[in-house]
Every structure is written in structure tokens, then in C-alpha cells.
């Protein structure tokens, strides 16, 4: 692991005004190094998902600043951020979120087709590769809504990997998976961070998963608690 900063969050404050004014994130600051495998833990309602949406650039309604790969993203336009996400961020949502009218394969290919840097054939081959890695080869041509919850979650993981993003974020990416598949996903994340220097930020409730990552940070009522290094 080198010491280049991959992601830097400084003094993030976030409020919700509905149903009543309420501060969800309180002065959250931290850095993640390139190739680091970071897990984010905390009680339900502590603000983990909210923080991840801010980090993923999808939520722009916050105070403080966000930098990824040295580029300041706070204040950029929605379209600039969309293009940035497409190329640099892979995101696995808490509740899968596949396009139901498309096949598993098409779901995985879409971000790459949008990026348009590789030929269709190459993209298809890569997508098959990822699906195979996640034990989904048989499901590739099935429509997304014909898959089980766990299968959909793994398709979403494959989709997050397709553009080789520098940062991969997951909101409980293994929440629906059995221990065998959780292990598969964990190993993939570990391998990507080690071999390709891709940064991983994953929210998890799984203690084993967290313990085996490079570093764990904990949110409590919107405050960042402690920084620990486990399982190094």
C-alpha cells in the first residue's frame, strides 16, 4: 500500500430538515489511502449510508469538502459529478438497485458502455469475466428481476467493478449473502485493493468482514468515533 491519498473528507456536516431539522453528520473528517480496504461500522441510524452518499458524490447537499484522487468535488455540477462517478467510482447500493428490464449481463455492461472507452466485445468479455468470478455465469442472460436477492447483489457488485474505478464503495454489499459468497466478495475486494491499488470503502455489520479489512472506522450518532487498524 502506498501513501497517496485516494479520498479526503473534511468537516462534513449534513442536515435533514424533514420531518424536523436534524444533524445527521457532525464534522466528519478522514482520509483514505490509495489501495486501502476500509470498513465503516456503526449502529443502525448512525449515518453510515448518508455518509456514503456524500462520499459517492451523489449527495451534494452538505457542508465541508470532498476530494477524490486530488480533485476537489465539492461544488461541481451534477453532470460533471455524473461523469466523474462513471469513470472513478463504483457503487454497490444497500438494496441492489438493478435495472429490472435488462439482463444481468446488460446491467453489468451499462456503466462501461456509457464510459465508451472500450469496444462492445471487450466490455462484454469483461462483464462475463466478473460474473463468472461471482459465480453468476449461468444467470448472465436472465432478466434482473428473475434473480434472487443474493444473486442481484452480486450482479450489482460486478457492475461496480466493470470500469476499474479507483474507489469502490459498498453499502452493506454482503448484507444478503451467505457466508460462502461473503467470503468470495471479501476476497475480490482484498485482491482489487492489493493487486490493482483500488480503494475500497464498505459499510458492514459483519464483524469478521470488518476485522479482516485494513482499517475500521465507526460512526455514532453522526460522529466519527475512532480509527483502528485490525487484521493487518
Amino acid at each position: 500500500m502506498n501513501t497517496t491519498i485516494s479520498l479526503k473528507a473534511s468537516n462534513i456536516d449534513k442536515y435533514f430538515y424533514q420531518p424536523e431539522p436534524f444533524q445527521v453528520l457532525k464534522d466528519v473528517s478522514f482520509e483514505v489511502k490509495k489501495g486501502e480496504f476500509l470498513t465503516l461500522i456503526g449502529k443502525s441510524g448512525s449515518g453510515k449510508s448518508t455518509l456514503l452518499y456524500v462520499l459517492s458524490t451523489m449527495d451534494t447537499d452538505y457542508k465541508g469538502s470532498l476530494e477524490i484522487n486530488g480533485a476537489r468535488l465539492t461544488g461541481k455540477s451534477q453532470n460533471e459529478l455524473a461523469a466523474f462517478r462513471n469513470e472513478h467510482i463504483g457503487f454497490v447500493f444497500q438494496f441492489h438497485y438493478l435495472l429490472v428490464e435488462f439482463t444481468a449481463l446488460e446491467n453489468v455492461m451499462l456503466p462501461a458502455l456509457k464510459l465508451g472507452k472500450k469496444s462492445r466485445e471487450e466490455i462484454e468479455a469483461n462483464a462475463y469475466e466478473s460474473l463468472k468470478m461471482l459465480d453468476l455465469k449461468e444467470q448472465a442472460l436472465k432478466q434482473a428481476n428473475k434473480l434472487s436477492g443474493g444473486q442481484q447483489q452480486r450482479v450489482a457488485i460486478a457492475r461496480a467493478l466493470i470500469n476499474n474505478p479507483s474507489v469502490i464503495m459498498g453499502d452493506e454489499p454482503t448484507g444478503n449473502l451467505d457466508s460462502k459468497n461473503t467470503k468470495v466478495v471479501f476476497d475480490i475486494f482484498k485482491q482489487l485493493s492489493r493487486e490493482r491499488g483500488q480503494t475500497i470503502i464498505a459499510v458492514t455489520h459483519d464483524d469478521d468482514f470488518a476485522r479482516n479489512s485494513d482499517r475500521v472506522i465507526e460512526l455514532s450518532d453522526g460522529n466519527l468515533l475512532k480509527t483502528s487498524t485490525i487484521g493487518r
Binding site: 449510508s49 452518499y53 455524473a82 462517478r85 438493478l98 435495472l99 451499462l110
Partner: protein
Amino acid sequence: MFSSVNNKISGVHLTSNAKQTVVAVLSVTFGISMYVFMNSFMSGVNDAQTKLAFTALAHVRVYNDGPADNTNLLKRVLPYGKLINLRNAKVIQYTKGIKNSTQIVSLLQHQPEATGVTSQVNINVSYHNGAIKINGQLSGVDVENENRLFGISNYMLQGQWQELKSRSDGVIIGSGLAKNMSLKINDNLNLLTDDGVAKNYKVIGIFETTIANTDKSKAYINIGAARQLLSKNADYVTDIQLNVKDYSKARQTAGKVAPVIPYKVEAWQVANGQLEAGSDLRDIIAKAVSLTILLVAGFGIYNIMNMTVNQKIREVAILKAMGFSGGDITTIFLTEALIIGIVGGIVGMLFGYVVALAVNHIPFAIGGLTTLPMTYKPSDYLLAFVFGLLTTFVAGYLPARHASKIDPVTIIRG
């Protein structure tokens, strides 16, 4: 923005919700086919009406308008400032009809847009048969050219139009006139000009234009016979009638030749304002009704597109989260609307043609018609298609823009 990914997504939307797509396409089809049909029908009615009108009416008419304004003749010869007292001025001599007709006919024939020129000697007469006396108009005609302009031979009930050429004693009369005067073929018709000359002709034909006034009062003789009746020389005519390629451009032709012709040159619209007004009004009605139908179809598409966007709000949020821009989203939904518009437009043009054909076969035997009239103009189809696309574009753009503004995080957060 116009990438193949976006097109692919549009394609999946259209095919995975085929029922909705078909309903949207049908609403465009309905709008466009009604546009085509309404306009074809109105054009047909207008054309039938015009055709009927032009059986007795040329596009441009040249005639002697009577003496000029001669109320103060002395003004021209006496210096200004002289006081004159002129009372009861009378025109004691003026020339009726057109003198140098050959020259004018040749000038008109050489207009590139001219399709036919004919000379007439029209005379007001009273027809007599025993005790019956009817006022009417006797037309001395150039048999060939008269037929070329007005197609009168198509309206012959009895006898041959061409026979008039060789029969200087022959007359062809309207069916109404024949009935009112109890005349049959080969009967004699006695007539009296307003100059008091009386002459006998033999009825060699009877025509019926379905324009009652014409049929009741008009009779044709050879132009030479008419000159003889008036004791005029071979160059004398009262009217020169000109037809042009496009009757709606008669005014331009009249305006062009008027300066070099020393007589009144009148386009048909001037003397028949009601025909033009009727035809214009029908056009306006057709346009208004068909555009209203298109507008209703547009609302249909708008509703369906709005529904589609609302159903796909989660999907739009995911696409945006994965990096699709607002422009991509607009393109995706607009492409869907335009495909619906194009398919609906093509089917609509075909269906409109079929409806027009079907209505064109409905019997309608009034005023010289046999079936309901219909005109097949490519421009109607083109306009329907263009208006249809325009409507779908607007109806698709509003929901598409709404979709492009969706904030992904508020949707995904749930």
C-alpha cells in the same frame, strides 16, 4: 449524448412495455390519419366545387368595361383656371366589344402559364317559341377552344358539341331552357337581340351543367354566326377567356398582362369572391379540426410518456448514479417519444390514405358528383407527418426534461 447506449435503453423501454408503446403509437396514428383524411376531404370538396364553377367560368377574362369616365372632357384641352359650364354631357358614340382581338389572343397564348384561350361573342337575347319568351344569354363560341377551357362536351345530354363547328344555323341549348320552352332536337328556336335583330336557329344539342342558372338561360352558337347576327367583322369579340395552369395564381397572370391590354383584365377571384372565400373557409375548418385532433393525440402521448417516466423514476436514479447525465436521460425518453411519433406517423399516413379511399367510394350523387370527393395531395401527408412529429416532440420533451431533473439520491435513499 446520442450514444448507442442511450438508444439501447430507449429500445428496451419500448419493447419491454409493448402494450403502452402500442397505445401511444395508436394515438399518434389516429391523429395523423384524421389530419390526412380531413384535409384530403376538404381539398376534394374544394376541387369539386372549383371544377363545377369553372365549367362556366374562365380563370381570366378580358372584356370591354364600357366607356371611360367622361364627365369632364374639356379638362384635357383647356388650360387650368378657365371656368367652364358643361351640362348634360352625353356619350354619343363608343365602341362595344374588343376590336384587335387576334393580337390579344396571341399575346395571351404566349404566356408560359396559359393552358387555353378562347374568344366569345356574348349577346343578350330573348328566346321565343310561340307565346313563350325567356331572356337569356347567347354565346358565340370558338367550338374547339371553348371545349378545351370548359369541357362543355362532357355535359351534352343530346347531340354532339363538335357539330356546332359546321352548322352556322345550329344552336345548343341548356336543359332547363329546353324544358321551359318545350324544345327538342331539330326544333326551331327563334331569338331576338336587344338591337332588334331576329333570327331562327335549329336545336342541334342539349347540355346540362347542373348549374341551374346556366342551364335555364344559356345557348351556344358558332362564333361566326354570332358575328353575322350582329353584323360585325371577323375580328370582333366581346370576351376573351384565358385558363392558366394554376387557377389560384390567376391574379398574378391578370396583373402581368393588364398593362399591355387596353381592356378590362379580370381574374376569376375578383368577380367571384364568394367562391374563394368558401374554399378558404373550408380550408381553415379542415386545418382547425385536424390540428385539434393532433393536439388531443399529443395529450395522449404526453400522458403515456409521463406515466412511463414516473414508473421508471428508480431506474433513472440508478442510471444517474452510474454516471448518466441529465442530457442522456432527456435523450433516452425523447428518443422513445420520437420513435413512437415516427412509427405512428407512417402508420397514420397509410391509415389516413385507406380511410380517404374508403370515403371516396361512398356514393354521393348531387351536383355532378357520383361519390364523395377526395383529393390526394402529397403535401397533406407531409404536413401531417411534420405536425405529428412536432406534437410528439413537445409531448415527449416535457416528461423527458422532468426525468432529467430527477435527483438520484432522494430516490435511492427511499
